[in-house]
């Protein structure tokens, strides 16, 4: 036999084997597990090590703190005293412990659990992509080839190195999409699938996977509406009804995470400004080019090898939906670089205002491209196997296209797996921290750059970073001998009887009514057995009467209890629906629909019961400036330097005052801008501050929140709003004239400046007002 014949025989045999594997679920999963193992091998081989990247410290810490709560303290992971002076662990958006993968962390520790999570989630993603591609019309062979394109794509290679394990939540995207598609076809089991996948995605944390997955689901519904609107009105309505039931059940099942997260973000909204964008060449390099250090190349790698199959997929009429998804994702990924910006429009929606990185829409684009490729392979495969095509030139062309497109994807598996090893090698790893001798818990000044070292020492790190402004008291200290104290000198004593994250027991003896302060942040979830829990500038305190008290403090936030109850009821509904789906797979009658609606509404009972309880204050104190004064005031302070500049959006800059009108070089001063807003103000306004010395480098102090705590649109109208900006005047500023220009801009809508209507007493230049001018001594 000639070598060409040998090759053809080998290719044909491989194809038949692949088809056999694809249709045999255990073998298919074994193949997927092997691919995931190859990709995750470098992570698994270094699973004992600590990732020293800054974000990895923080994100791993949440997992460690949750494990510690469960295994060491035998408590639910509700409160994390080890970070930022204490924070709501269950309500932290980036924590990922409410997911089945937390079992890895529980049994094997955070570091090994992280590697195992990556391995397991890749298998989940591979099988999910396979099933989604099948549902989108790919043959088993086509879907088999499509699976690794998405599930092993660049983001899953990049994220472990950065500690962004939450991005593996995207591996659930095909499952969620599949659930919605089948729910639209009125399948009962699809409701279960949608609910479980969505709740898992939410529980897995991160601020991108769940919102982007929700958009994809909305897209699936829109596509369903467009394709069914004309021919099957009844099927359209009932399909949407079943999908809505799936969505409602998903929300209910995820309530144990959603409710606490919503509370956290209501207490401390995450504000994101800027107008990020990506040029087309940058996006192409991110998506098609292999990884290259110090560049963005390959961050969302699928590779050029996908192109032939994807182009074949585009040739199918039924691929229009996916083609539209590709276009929309690419448009979103371009951010503000393309006008009009779809990303800017998306940021106008609730829950999407906080998206910062448009390029992350290349992840769903990866799923669309992989599915298109699967469909392309399937088209050629089906055509080549059709009797009428078996002969002559057409058959040769079809077979050639099929072979080239398939081989290209098979070849692509190499770089797809290899990039995982490349990124894993880039990591900065250290031996894990050694647990110290048992010692009482203390807050330390700490360092978020080395956070994972503090919890094993039983130390909390006050040094704090998060993507949202964690409510943190300025009164926290990292040098106290005792973590609890009586605030009023000589009023009594306090002794710690027992300590754990969610429960602190104290013996207090007071000769007069006094306040006990705990060196942790206040939160509305703290309860005390005696006295009243209060916030003193955000510090946790308890006002107590005179006498001897056995004081018990417990962290029991209503959002956790209520969320858990709602999720439990929803879980029971999910189990019931799952069992029922075996006997009656489809929701086919009106009675079925009514029963389904009633079932899905069941979790509302605990929700309404909990929500009807007494309201909890989100913040007991007014927002304060960095120098401790209320941000909202009735009028200007004495000595304020009036400006009275009027801006187009109904905002007035009343005054601009330096705390020291004659500052020295190498000193700190405060610049106070006093604003006043009208009842109607444009949302998403930001304040820009240009600090321009007569020579040398200009600085800026652009910000969104007044005094770092209050958004202009959330501030009351017709009040003076103090915006205090600290300013360090460097040594080399001496003798130079410093001018500080101030103005307003639209932080999301293209970044345009707000027009200055009337400069008042100040000089105006390019829609900015000269607030102060000084020459440092």
């Amino acid at each position: 036999m000639s070598p060409a014949r040998h090759l053809l025989t080998f290719v044909g045999g491989s194809y038949r084997t692949a088809r056999y594997v694809a249709q045999n679920t255990p073998l298919r999963l074994a193949l997927f597990a092997t691919l995931a193992l190859a990709a995750a091998w470098p992570l698994l081989s270094s699973a004992s090590m600590l990732n020293e990247f800054r974000d990895a410290h923080v994100l791993a810490h949440y997992e460690t703190a949750a494990r510690d709560s469960v295994l060491h303290w035998h408590q639910a992971p509700l409160w994390d005293p080890y970070y930022c002076g204490g924070m709501y662990l269950l309500g932290t958006p980036q924590a990922r412990f409410l997911s089945p993968t937390f079992l890895f962390t529980l049994f094997f520790g955070e570091a090994r659990g992280e590697a195992l999570t990556a391995f397991a989630m890749m298998i989940v993603g591979l099988e999910g992509t396979f099933r989604y591609a099948r549902d989108r019309g790919a043959t088993r062979f086509g879907a088999l080839l499509a699976a690794p394109l998405f599930a092993l794509s660049g983001i899953f290679a990049v994220s472990p190195g950065l500690g962004w394990i939450g991005f593996f939540g995207f591996e659930l995207l095909p499952w969620l999409a599949l659930g919605v598609r089948r729910a639209l076809a009125r399948e009962r089991m699809a409701i279960v699938l949608t609910a479980v996948a969505a709740a898992w995605c939410v529980g897995f944390g991160g601020t991108y996977a769940a919102p982007i997955a929700a958009l994809w689901c909305a897209f699936e519904v829109a596509e369903f509406v467009v394709t069914r609107a004309r021919r099957d009105r009844l099927g359209l309505v009932s399909g949407i009804g079943v999908a809505a039931a799936g969505a409602a059940l998903a929300m209910a099942l995820a309530a144990v995470r959603l409710w606490p997260i919503m509370q956290t973000l209501a207490d401390a909204p995450r504000m994101i400004g800027g107008t990020p964008g990506n040029t087309w060449p940058v996006l192409v390099r991110m998506f098609f080019f292999p990884m290259r250090p110090e560049t963005d190349n390959g961050e969302f790698y699928l590779g050029f090898w996908v192109v032939p199959a994807a182009l074949l997929g585009l040739s199918r009429r039924r691929s229009i939906g996916l083609s539209v998804a590709v276009v929309l994702c690419a448009w979103l990924a371009a951010g503000y670089e393309v006008r009009p910006s779809l990303f800017a429009a998306l940021r106008e929606l609730p829950f999407y205002t906080t998206l910062r990185y448009p390029e992350r829409f290349l992840i769903p684009l990866g799923l669309a491209a992989a599915t298109l490729a699967g469909r392309g392979i399937s088209l050629a495969e089906t055509y080549a196997r059709t009797p009428h095509a078996r002969g002559g030139r057409r058959r040769f062309v079809t077979l050639a296209a099929f072979t080239v497109a398939s081989l290209a994807i098979v070849i692509d598996v190499g770089p797809l797996v290899a990039q995982h090893a490349l990124h894993a090698r880039e990591r900065w790893l250290s031996p894990p921290p050694v647990a110290g001798e048992a010692s009482p818990f203390h807050q330390a000044r700490g360092s978020r750059w080395a956070l994972e070292y503090y919890e094993p020492m039983q130390r909390g790190s006050l040094s704090c970073w998060e993507a949202y402004p964690v409510p943190q008291s300025p009164l926290l200290r990292g040098d106290l001998k005792s973590e609890e104290r009586v605030v009023e000198p000589g009023a009594g004593t306090v002794t710690e009887r027992s300590w754990s994250p969610n429960a602190i027991d104290l013996d207090v003896t007071l000769s007069r009514p006094a306040t006990v302060a705990v060196n942790q942040n206040w939160h509305s979830g703290w309860r005390s057995s005696v006295g009243e829990v209060k916030s003193d500038h955000g510090l946790l305190t308890v006002a107590l009467p005179e006498g001897t008290h056995a004081l018990s403090l417990r962290f029991e936030p209503r959002s956790a209890t209520g969320g858990a109850l709602v999720s439990l009821v929803a879980a029971a509904v999910v189990v019931f629906l799952g069992v029922r789906a075996r006997r009656a797979p489809r929701v086919s009658t009106l009675r079925d629909g009514v029963v389904l609606a009633l079932l899905v509404a069941t979790p509302l009972v605990p929700l309404v019961a909990m929500a009807a309880g007494p309201s909890q204050k989100t913040s007991p104190e007014p927002p304060l400036t960095p120098d401790g004064r209320p941000v909202v005031a009735e009028g200007l302070d004495e000595g304020a330097v009036r400006i009275d500049a009027k801006f187009a959006d109904g905002v007035v800059l009343e005054a601009a005052t330096l705390s020291n009108p004659d500052p020295a070089a190498a000193s700190d001063v405060n610049l106070e801008l006093d604003w006043r807003r009208s009842p109607q103000v444009d949302p998403g306004l930001g304040i820009f501050v240009h600090i321009e010395p007569s020579s040398g480098t200009a600085q800026n102090g652009d910000h969104i929140l007044l005094s770092g705590v209050l958004a202009p649109e959330d501030a009351p109208p017709d009040k003076t709003l103090r915006d205090v900006i600290p300013l360090f005047v460097p040594e080399d500023a001496r003798g130079k004239t410093w001018k500080i220009w101030v103005g307003l801009w639209h932080v999301r809508r293209g970044g345009s400046r707000v027009r200055v209507v009337d400069g008042g007493h100040a000089q105006v230049d390019a829609d900015r007002v000269l607030a102060v001018s000084f020459v440092p001594r």
């Binding site: 391995f119 750059w449 070292y453 910000h703």
Partner: protein, 124 residues
């Protein structure tokens, strides 16, 4: 168990086994008390200067200044631990203990035991 699932279970077991057998490299020895005091002094003596540098980098943002300082401080502690062949965690622990027990630091200004509240930059 159905034997059809053996290959899948085998691959998963291999992954689990690899993660569980990944070895921990030998740890440097623990620092003694004298080393801990030396580590504290090494890290804390430059605090004022490090904070000044951080203020130059972030002149209008208190949280960013403090965060920048903590990065510098962690780098110094790591540097000291590496050159003295002791655990990095011990150097961090020494900084905490020195601050709490008021060890002599050599810093011209008092060490700061508080942090400004977390205010992540909204605009990069």
């Amino acid at each position: 168990m159905n034997t059809a699932w053996v290959p899948f279970a085998g691959v998963c077991a291999l992954g689990l086994g690899r993660a569980l057998t990944a070895s921990v490299p030998p740890q440097p020895p623990a620092a003694d008390d004298a080393q801990r005091r030396e580590a504290f002094r090494y890290v804390a003596s430059d605090e004022a200067a490090e904070r000044r540098e951080a203020a130059k980098t972030f002149p209008t943002d208190l949280w960013s200044r403090d965060d920048d300082f903590h990065q510098r401080e962690a780098a110094k502690a790591r540097d000291w631990a590496r050159t003295h062949h002791v655990r990095f965690g011990d150097a961090l622990s020494a900084v905490d203990q020195g601050l709490r027990e008021r060890w002599p630091s050599g810093s011209p200004t008092p060490l700061v035991a508080t942090v400004p509240p977390c205010r992540p930059r909204a605009i990069y």
